[in-house]
């Protein structure tokens, strides 16, 4: 994926990096170009297959809660699609919008823009939203492969990780809802890859902080993963020997400050040019206010202590994480993460901690599964390693057998969360049932 444009003599920082590489546990390699093209094609096609199948057999949400299903162009969506279809004319006609960019639009602005451009081309709202979701879903799988390589996975394990992200319940669960959450969720592996590249390649510190600010801004415009990636960026910096934790903290702080300034500027721009957000203003939960609001409302030391205690995750959050990934995938993922070394362990531990707190604020399975790219990378490594171990015992490590066994194990991991395709919708129903804002029994 990454070519070598005009090489320059490494700077002092680069020489230091070469002297102290972060030594991942698994030896990394590159995927041959032809296989890369094939892999990209497969990972872009997989969402078409998995998503298309659900349109025939039943999207997860519509199976669980058909009463909240609506229609766009005669096809099924969730009623929340109206947040976004309401703003399609803003992007596709000269009519002045009736209301501005509310938080629910702001946090999905990039996917909404892409969907609106496709709508302007085709005039079909339904398929424009679907194409946007499918495009980002495919990119999530591709980005996971390269993120896995960056974190030290072998190529085959990285490819399996891409497959597992594509088959992840996080991405499948919202397909055909047309709330653009599939595209939003896909932003996480893409941004994590970008942050890892920014941190790992030698560049001036101000440039790194600026780049990370933009990554956080893009994340805030495609869901709210900036609150997860900011601490992960610190972990990436701290585990990069060229940077270290002290400079890493400074860079991350500068990146967050830059992100906040860019956010304020963006919101001001939209307020001036589009108008005041007067519609759908209460449709989002801001993690910052949900967490800090309790502390800010405290009036005595006892209340402060209670407020602090109330944001500490409990057993329910652990169970939610356990269920959201499916135990088989989670255990495989954690085993693989451990094999990838301290950097990936630190990333996963930090991400899981953020997930536990996030689930406390917003008890949804997709907040519990906040670390899904890292768990998928771990599961890919575990499947590939297990395949290699078994193949070595059976036939002294025949390369094709290694790949076949690894793939079989990865398909098994993917299957446990995709059994609805075989007429066993228990996991998909439980996934939505665990979302406490939405109860349906019929």
């Amino acid at each position: 994926m990454i070519a070598t444009p005009a090489r320059r003599r490494p700077s002092g920082g680069a020489r230091a990096a070469e002297a102290h590489p972060p030594a991942p546990a698994a030896a990394a390699g590159a995927i041959p170009p032809r296989l890369t093209l094939l892999l990209v094609a497969v990972l872009m096609a997989l969402p078409l297959v998995l998503g298309g199948a659900r349109l025939l057999t039943g999207p997860w949400f519509h199976q669980y809660n058909p009463r909240e299903m609506s229609l766009v162009d005669g096809y099924p969506v969730s009623w929340e699609a109206t947040y976004y279809t309401d703003h399609l004319p803003t992007f596709a006609s000269a009519a002045r919008p009736g209301f501005g960019i509310s938080p629910v639009h702001y946090r999905t602005l990039i996917p909404l823009f892409v969907a609106a451009q496709l709508y302007a081309w085709t005039g079909h709202a339904y398929w424009s939203f679907a194409a946007t979701d499918l495009l980002f879903w495919g990119l999530a799988g591709v980005a996971t492969v390269f993120l896995a390589l960056r974190l030290g996975s072998r190529p085959w394990a990285a490819a399996l990780a891409g497959l597992l992200v594509s088959a992840s319940p996080v991405l499948i669960s919202h397909m055909w809802r047309h709330d653009l959450h599939t595209a939003d969720f896909a932003g996480l592996p893409i941004a994590l890859w970008a942050a890892t590249v920014l941190v790992d390649e030698p560049r001036p510190r101000w440039q790194l902080a600026g780049g990370l600010s933009l990554v956080l801004l893009l994340l805030s415009l495609s869901y709210q993963y900036q609150w997860l990636v900011a601490p992960l960026a610190f972990v990436l910096c701290a585990t990069q020997p060229r940077i270290g934790w002290l400079r890493g903290a400074a860079i991350t702080a500068a990146a967050v400050a830059g992100f906040l300034a860019l956010t304020a500027a963006s919101e001001a721009l939209f307020r001036v040019s589009v108008g005041d957000p007067t519609s759908w203003t209460g449709a989002t939960v801001a993690p910052s206010s949900a967490l800090l609001g309790r502390l800010a409302a405290a009036r005595s030391p006892g209340e402060v202590l209670d407020a602090a205690r109330s944001v500490l995750p409990g057993w329910q959050q652990v169970v939610a994480v356990w269920r959201a990934y499916h135990p088989v995938v989670l255990l495989a993922g954690l085993a693989g993460v451990c094999a990838l070394g301290r950097r990936t362990i630190a990333l996963t531990a930090t991400g899981t901690a953020v997930a536990l707190v996030s689930h406390l604020v917003y008890p949804a399975p997709w907040t519990a599964a906040l670390c899904y790219p890292l768990i998928a990378i771990g599961a890919g490594v575990a499947c590939a390693t297990a395949g290699r171990v078994v193949a070595t015992r059976i036939r002294s490590g025949d390369a094709r057998l290694v790949c076949a066994l690894g793939l079989a194990l990865a398909l098994l991991c993917a299957a446990v969360t995709n059994l609805d395709l075989a007429g066993v919708p228990d996991f998909s129903l439980e996934w939505w049932r665990s979302y406490t804002n939405m109860q349906s029994r019929f």
């Binding site: 070598t4 590159a30 170009p33 229609l71 005669g74 004319p89 030698p202 129903l429 019929f442």
Partner: protein, 306 residues
């Protein structure tokens, strides 16, 4: 054959094949071939843009991901080289939007962010020339969209009479019955439950709906959007199922309930809903607008089990 052309041959051929295949699918799906010159130009441009995207992906895949930063090269500063490409393309995007401040600012903002990302990713992987091509492709895509004038319309519908996904069912005759069976998760609780069914539209006519649950008459209440069937604690306590039967008198086609195609969430699956005359039941629903049975279930929610 020049190497550049040879390298481009595979992605171009694949793109052509995909475009032809997609075109066939669209035609099979019933779409008419673009009837206007504007439509035909859009299709042509779309195929060209797909080709640009395919070439870009091909170029990116030919590069090599260096993996962990053992010998990561220091890349030349790209921001300055991006400025002319991003600047000129942004002007091209902005021109058709002059006089539309909201659309202009939103489009430019999102375009510049996306173009910046495309430039950064492609330039790292395939060099500045390919990156400039990719940004120009994105700009062309945005410019065409910027010329569209699609009027505001109501996109969301709750249901359609002929929808395969969500439709409405009624009681065509006085003897017609609708039935829905809910299997309770464990023995029924010792308190009342409410069964909520959803009306196709608000109703204030003369018809009334009468309900029985497990063979006992129960109260039915209509709200502007829902029908509520209150099941007393005496019927719920210890029960394993709630067998709801609804009839209407006099029959009025305006009082209708919503039904849906997907049955997996129903506790009794495809057999949850049935219709008939009270003695013989047929599974699924009867779409009287189409005059034929339609597999599916009534949209219903049991309130009180949460």
């Amino acid at each position: 054959m020049p190497a550049t052309l040879r390298r481009s041959l595979v992605p171009l051929t694949v793109t052509g094949a995909v475009a032809l295949g997609a075109g066939q699918l669209v035609l099979v799906a019933g779409a008419s071939w673009p009837a206007t010159r504007d439509g035909a130009l859009k299709v042509l441009l779309a195929v060209l843009l797909v080709a640009v995207a395919a070439l870009t992906v091909g170029a990116l895949c030919r590069g090599r991901e260096p993996g962990p930063p053992r010998r990561a090269p220091v890349l030349p500063a790209g921001a300055l080289r991006a400025l002319p490409v991003l600047g000129v393309s942004a002007v091209a995007v902005a021109l058709p939007l002059l006089g539309q401040p909201a659309r202009l600012s939103l489009t430019l903002y999102c375009y510049l962010l996306l173009a910046g990302v495309v430039w950064w990713v492609v330039r790292r992987g395939a060099g500045a020339r390919v990156a400039a091509g990719a940004v120009c492709g994105l700009a062309a895509f945005t410019v065409v969209a910027a010329t569209a004038q699609l009027p505001s319309m109501r996109f969301i519908e709750d249901w359609r009479p002929d929808s395969p996904y969500k439709w409405a069912v009624g009681w065509p005759t006085e003897s017609w019955r609708l039935r829905h069976v809910v299997r309770l998760p464990g023995p029924g609780p010792e308190h009342a439950l409410r069964l909520r069914l959803f009306l196709a539209r608000q109703y204030d006519g003369p018809a009334r709906v009468f309900a029985t649950v497990n063979g006992h008459d129960v109260d039915v209440e209509l709200t502007p959007s829902e029908m509520h069937v209150d099941v007393p604690a005496a019927l719920v306590g210890g029960a394993s199922e709630l067998d709801l039967v609804l009839r209407q008198s006099p029959p009025d086609p305006r009082l209708r309930l919503l039904a849906t195609r997907w049955v997996e969430g129903a506790s009794r699956g495809a057999g949850a809903t049935s219709f008939g005359d009270g003695r013989r039941w047929q599974p699924g629903t009867f779409n009287d607008a189409l005059g034929r049975p339609q597999p599916g279930v009534l949209t219903l929610h049991v309130e009180g089990l949460e």
